[in-house]
């Protein structure tokens, strides 16, 4: 077994298998507890709620993303760059910030209601949760679908464009059939994310009828102190995810993706410029995304005086520092391990086995939600015969690395494959050491993508809320739990200010480093 794969598996064993095993061994009679819980109506109700809102969120996210992706695919312009940048920012935005923005904009006393003088709101219902999920997932879906549409061979796309069909018919009859596999992958990704939704459900849901299983796991651990029931709910959640993931994996069997050796970043096919109508649609898309954040900005401005003290307090700086430290280490760990893992798979001579195994592993890891992993780590630490100082910090690094690993690995896999295709033989022919070739050629050539992956991991860690809330006490806060505390203390002004600073930081870092577009993945390998 190659070192990269070995390291990856060791990491998974330590950060996932070991804690899960510890949890199962700690909990007596988990099967009995599980059987009892399955019969409880409130568990069935939470399960139904989790599945229905996740399904609807995923469906509408893709349905709304498709037209915008079609508008922007194979075109250049500020609209596309904005779409790419917003996809990264939304990925890093803590879910409770979205909930907060919703309350400020769409709440009964929200800015929108004040503007249109309405006394109705859709908040605190399933609809609000679904709309918030759409907001969070839409930019990512748009970007993903742009990449998928751009993977259609240029000549084929041109031919489609020339057909005398309406946009909707082109989309429905010609584009969607070509990208159904990535669409399904996207659906499953969003579905899993929404099924295990926590922050948005906590802020916009509420009550036993508006709770996901993820929220129940948290409540069972933190409030009821029922480790066994929390574990049983985690197992139930896994049992929902596992067959769905297995089904989708075998239905759309993954093989090594074909890709063009031409990196499509910066090169656009010649389509007609975006029309006014398309621009108007895109503006509405931007408005929908921006409204909650405009509300936060407005609230921050109106409450600047009262919020500034909290913004400059040691508690805020400590929370930001903790988030940065955890993000830095977890993302570094995940990126390094993921890169070593995927490069060994790319080089592997048994690609027919290793690539499907890799895909299966990546999918399988998504069965484990943040709440379940945090619960397992809680159990592991509790069983240690000694006191581990700073355990929550260490545990969060491993948990966040674990949660980022599949996403980063998937992001880097095509990069690694293309690199191997382009330079693999050349490097082998050079008489330099493996270490030299790794650092001087491999890392150098791929540094933009590695940095992009690192940033993504950092963003995911900084915005992660569930595991942090489950493992941290009041003596250890990150930016997400601190925001939650501020909102809970009705210090909306301070929360708004801190959110604004956080968002500007995210935008700034993304812009400063520069986000490379992904490699184009097309079916046509004839052009080399």
């Amino acid at each position: 077994m190659t070192p990269g794969i070995l390291l990856g598996l060791l990491f998974l064993s330590f950060s996932l298998i070991l804690p899960i095993t510890s949890l199962i061994s700690e909990v007596d009679g988990i099967l009995n507890v599980f059987t009892r819980l399955i019969g409880e109506t409130w568990v069935i109700s939470a399960l139904q709620y989790s599945v229905i809102q996740a399904g609807l969120s995923a469906f509408f996210s893709i349905a709304l993303a498709l037209p915008f992706a079609f508008i922007l695919a194979n075109r250049s312009g500020w609209q596309k760059k904005l779409a790419y940048h917003t996809s990264m920012i939304f990925f890093s935005t803590p879910s409770i910030v979205v909930g907060f923005g919703f309350v400020l904009s769409y709440g009964l006393s929200g800015y929108l209601n004040q503007f249109i003088k309405s006394e109705e709101t859709f908040l605190y219902t399933k609809t609000a949760v679904i709309v918030a999920h759409i907001l969070v997932n839409l930019p990512f879906a748009v970007r993903f679908l742009i990449d998928s549409i751009e993977s259609i061979p240029g000549e084929q796309f041109k031919a489609m464009e020339m057909l005398p069909l309406s946009r909707i018919k082109k989309l429905w009859l010609l584009i969607i059939p070509e990208i159904k596999r990535p669409m399904f992958t996207l659906f499953m990704t969003i579905f899993i994310f929404c099924l295990t939704s926590f922050g948005i459900v906590m802020t916009l849901g509420g009550g036993p009828h508006n709770s996901t299983l993820e929220v129940l796991i948290y409540q069972k651990l933190r409030y009821d102190g029922e480790l066994a029931e929390a574990a049983a709910l985690g197992v139930l959640q896994m049992l929902i995810l596992f067959p769905l993931i297995t089904f989708s994996f075998f239905l759309f069997k993954t093989s090594i993706p074909h890709f063009s050796t031409r990196v499509s970043a910066g090169k656009f096919e010649q389509r007609k410029p975006i029309s006014k109508f398309e621009n108007l649609n895109f503006s509405l898309y931007l408005l929908f995304l921006a409204l909650p954040f405009i509300a936060i900005l407005l609230d921050a401005a109106l409450n600047f005086k009262s919020g500034i003290q909290d913004l400059t307090s040691w508690a805020t700086l400590e929370a930001i520092l903790n988030s940065c430290m955890i993000g830095l280490f977890s993302s570094l760990l995940a990126t390094i391990l993921a890169w070593l893992f995927v490069r060994d798979i790319s080089k592997g001579f048994t690609k027919s086995i290793s690539f499907p195994a890799f895909s299966g592993l990546i999918w399988f890891m998504q069965c484990f939600s943040p709440a379940l992993v945090a619960l397992a780590w809680f159990s592991l630490v509790a069983q240690l015969p000694f006191e581990l100082k700073g355990y929550n910090f260490l545990a969060l690094i491993f948990i966040h690395s674990l949660l980022s690993f599949p996403i980063i690995a998937r992001l880097l896999m095509p990069v690694s494959l293309e690199f191997e295709h382009k330079f693999g033989r050349l490097i082998e022919s050079l008489k330099i050491s493996k270490v030299d070739s790794f650092f001087k050629i491999e890392v150098k050539e791929n540094k933009a993508h590695l940095l992009s992956a690192f940033l993504l991991g950092f963003g995911l860690s900084a915005s992660e809320f569930t595991a942090v809330l489950m493992l941290s006490g009041g003596d250890f806060t990150t930016i997400t739990t601190f925001l939650f505390q501020l909102m809970g203390a009705y210090k909306y002004g301070a929360a708004a200010l801190i959110t604004v600073v956080l968002l500007f930081l995210l935008i700034g870092v993304n812009h400063f480093v520069g986000i490379p577009t992904s490699y184009s993945v097309s079916k046509d390998r004839s052009k080399t």
Partner: protein, 340 residues
Amino acid sequence: MQKKVFYFASCIFYLMVSISSFCFAEDQKPILNIYTYLSFTSKWGPGSRIKKKFEAECQCQVNFVSVDDGASLLRRVKLEGKKTKADLVVGIDNILAGEASSSGLFDSAPIQNKLDLAIPSLDKYKDTLIPFDFGWVSLIYNSKKVKRPPSDLNDLLTNPSFKKSLIFSDPVTSSPGLSFLFWLNNEYGDKLGEKLKLLKNQTVTVTPGWSEAYGLFLKGEGGLVLSYTTSEIYHKIAESNQDYKAAFFKTHPVVVEYAGITKSSKQKPLARNFLSFLLTPQIQKIIAENNWMYPAIKTEAISDLNPIFNSFPKPTSTIDSIIEPGLQKKLLNTWRTGYK
């Protein structure tokens, strides 16, 4: 090149700060670890003031560890078991006090000074838990939005003018929410399940904790919120705001907050001193005027307490939320299945 330097420098900076925080965290003074709920230790809560005064007297360091809500305090200590670093737990309410007292987690806590309690029954758990404040659960309403508050629970649940106006905290995750559930159970008994369906029609949202509920209420998301009668005192004194008022019904559940020393504490003498300190008039005043609950000791003993604590109306009849074993779980199950 510049980017590399920037990132390298950032990494070094973060490493230095984190290492220094570990280094400077050490202190020669004995440390008293106190687990309590979040609002107690917040800037506007009594925690920081009490800490300052006690540290000046005891030559020790008080370390507050705050959890989300009182409901999770006991759970956390139970989950941590013998490894808990808590010396004291401050904020266990009367609903969980019975469980806490019989859990074996808390040590005996004889207090040297004679307790002159405001309500004699407050010291029900005097062997293990000491009361430090109490209050009555009620609804607070915004008099600008709600012209006539509900007259009783039935009015709250059935009057169409209160539709989608109530915000309250989840009984699963919040002490006031649980008190509310007991209140409803006391009123309706076996019909609780049906009444929860009516309650849903009147509710804007159910939040994880009291703070979130109150925050949304102040933001204007609802006209009524579940809180304590003393919340009206807070708005009158701290904000000179007369808009927020308490609705008084026939009976109200009382909430008593207790503090106890853990058996695993390595600072028991210091912890006992802290408990005595909590019941001194000067600290009881701080608790009353910052936690916005009634002091556990008689108000006559606190010379400079704001007179509003004496003059403010008190419920004529109280529901004692001391419960029989198993009832809490039963009620929470009813809540989970009935509220839809």
